[in-house]
Amino acid sequence: MDTQIITKLQTLAESAKYDVSCASSGVDKSNKGGLGNSAACGICHAWSSDGRCISLLKTLMTNDCVYDCAYCINRSSNDIRRESFTAEEVATLTIEFYRRNYIEGLFLSSAIEKNPNYTMEKILKVVQLLRHQHKFFGYIHVKGIPGADPALIRQVGLLVDRMSVNIELPTRESLRLLAPQKNPEKLFDPMRQIKDGILQLKDDRMHFKHAPAFVPAGQSTQMIVGATDDSDKTILETTEKLYKAFDLKRVYFSAYVPVNEGSLLPSIQLAPPKLREHRLYQADFLLRFYKFSASELLGEGEHNFDLAYDPKINWAFKHIEQFPMEINRVSVEELLRIPGIGTTSARRIMRQRKVVTIQYDDLSKMGVVMKRAKYFLTCNGKFYGDKAMSVCGIKTALNPPSPYNQMSLFA
């Protein structure tokens, strides 16, 4: 490796860092005579100084873009250093980082170099080198490039674990405004193709056991938060639709970091809306694991989440008449709606209930956050919240809560 490569790596990682989807989870596969495996639970290898987990070598193939999307640091009109990796360089870096246990695998994205097909071909080359030449069994996530030949997308899909297409903005109007060269209709083509590929595979597997895997860890996408004035409601509804229409595994949100000046964009002085991003992630959890719907979380006339309270407790405030719930009687779905009870503590409660009645003191030992939960439950008929059940009373008692703690989404 020449000495230039470190500059290249730093430039291209720098350009890729705003892409937040980093998880390596979703597939469990063991080594079949080469290098590497994947654990379904996902393994983090390092945490950068912003506190985000590093699990994959996340880089662009190139930042030399022919498009000019307003929000993007790599847009063609920006005067920045342009670099391109060769396929061999990316493959070697991946293998050597992987052997040293720095990473779980590769997350390869790219600007549009020359045209979509040229770009997708380069990505394919990297993946082929890794899987065929290096016999690499670790995790690979690549970006599907909208506008690339479906045949190329299919070839890549047969070799990678996850493929994603970032839609970046939640509405057609925002896309037209800020990413005029991207065709919103075309944007969804690869998504649709990946979904159909996965469905086709399920079908094939019923007939031939060894039909080749196609994007086994599924697909994901990312939306930027705060580059346009799209509301949380718009973003969350788009999220819900994406889960339904394309069977996405994850939708990621990325608080917009102003990198460019422009009349259509938030000022470059503005801090990224991290708390808003956090609320959206909480809401996304509620959609995926707590059986909430987007319209329950933000109803008629509500546009954005309350930044002072998390979406779940807010929902409880709106439906205060459904509380308190009796911990020893309600269904698991109802348990999950109690603020302070998460999926793990709900499971523990349901299990222990089969053997003995739950006592109030047990709850915190089971991981329930009593500071919040006590206002919303009874235990063997007794209410322990020292305030009367009223939204105002609870809000004062919680005393506008610790503004935000990234660590626990909610307990």
């Binding site: 080594n31 590497g36 495996n37 393994i43 912003d50 980082f97 040293r100 779980e104 047990d362």
Partner: protein, 242 residues
């Protein structure tokens, strides 16, 4: 009666056996941790593989594998009370049968559940935090975990690095996993001289450090959060913090 044992898992299981067939134990602890008291009698229990196997079989027969792992992980922890917690857990478990697994908050089950989780958590952490360096075609990783988790790492890395020779070295407990393709072994191990890295190895370390810096978003800097994921005590062996 306090039972002490040699620190092996079989030794601990032998103590459990003695509790039922010889005399009830009030506490169990490793011999090296025992400090004499005036009030309690103490007895060193000689490890007996047949008795240990009986207890092991009884656990496996009556409970799910998860219960066995809870006990085993607790045994690996650095908690000084761990053996007594295991004793109490098993007394309760043999009384209640499989239902014990549904019971989370009871004072005889909670310590084992909590400690087992902490040990499992540290193991999971090190699946990611181990750092290998290539030295004469061998991948070498040193670490100093709180709990004795070395044995829990073998399977994962033997699969992941199937075509490599590697060593994972717990410097605190001076033992290491050695693997030259499958299978792997654990043996006592001490590094005699300081390591010197080849230029090639140093180049990849530099690339990793360069990458590590480039990937952070300055406007989101949050060192406290970073520290909660990577406590200072682990950083000594992490390439990116050197």
């Amino acid at each position: 009666m306090i039972y002490t044992y040699d620190g092996t898992f079989d030794g601990l299981l032998t103590c459990i056996h003695q509790h039922y067939y010889l005399e009830h134990a009030s506490e169990i602890m490793e011999e090296i941790h025992y400090q004499p008291t005036l009030f309690e009698e103490v007895k060193f229990v000689e490890t007996d593989l047949i008795k240990a196997k009986r207890v092991y079989d009884a656990i496996m027969k009556q409970f799910s594998e998860e219960t066995y792992w809870d006990i085993y992980r607790t045994y690996l922890s650095n908690n000084r009370m761990k053996d007594t917690y295991i004793l109490r857990y098993l007394i309760m478990a043999f009384k209640m049968g499989q239902k014990i697994e549904l019971l989370h908050a009871h004072h005889d089950t909670l310590p084992v559940r909590r400690i087992s989780r902490a040990v499992g958590f540290e193991k999971h952490r090190f699946l990611g935090l181990l750092r290998f360096a290539e030295i004469d075609h061998v991948l070498y990783a040193a670490f100093e975990p709180d709990h004795n988790i070395l044995i829990l790492l073998g399977e994962h890395f033997a699969d992941r690095l199937a075509n490599e020779r590697f060593v994972i070295h717990d410097m605190k407990r001076v033992h290491a996993i050695f693997c030259d393709h499958w299978p792997w072994i654990i043996s006592d191990f001490k590094m005699e001289q300081p390591i010197t890295y080849s230029d090639n190895e140093l180049a990849f370390q530099a690339l990793w450090k360069g990458y590590f810096e480039a990937i952070a978003i300055e406007s989101r800097q949050n060192l406290k959060l970073q520290q909660s994921f990577v406590p200072l005590k682990y950083r000594k062996h992490l390439t990116e913090f050197h």
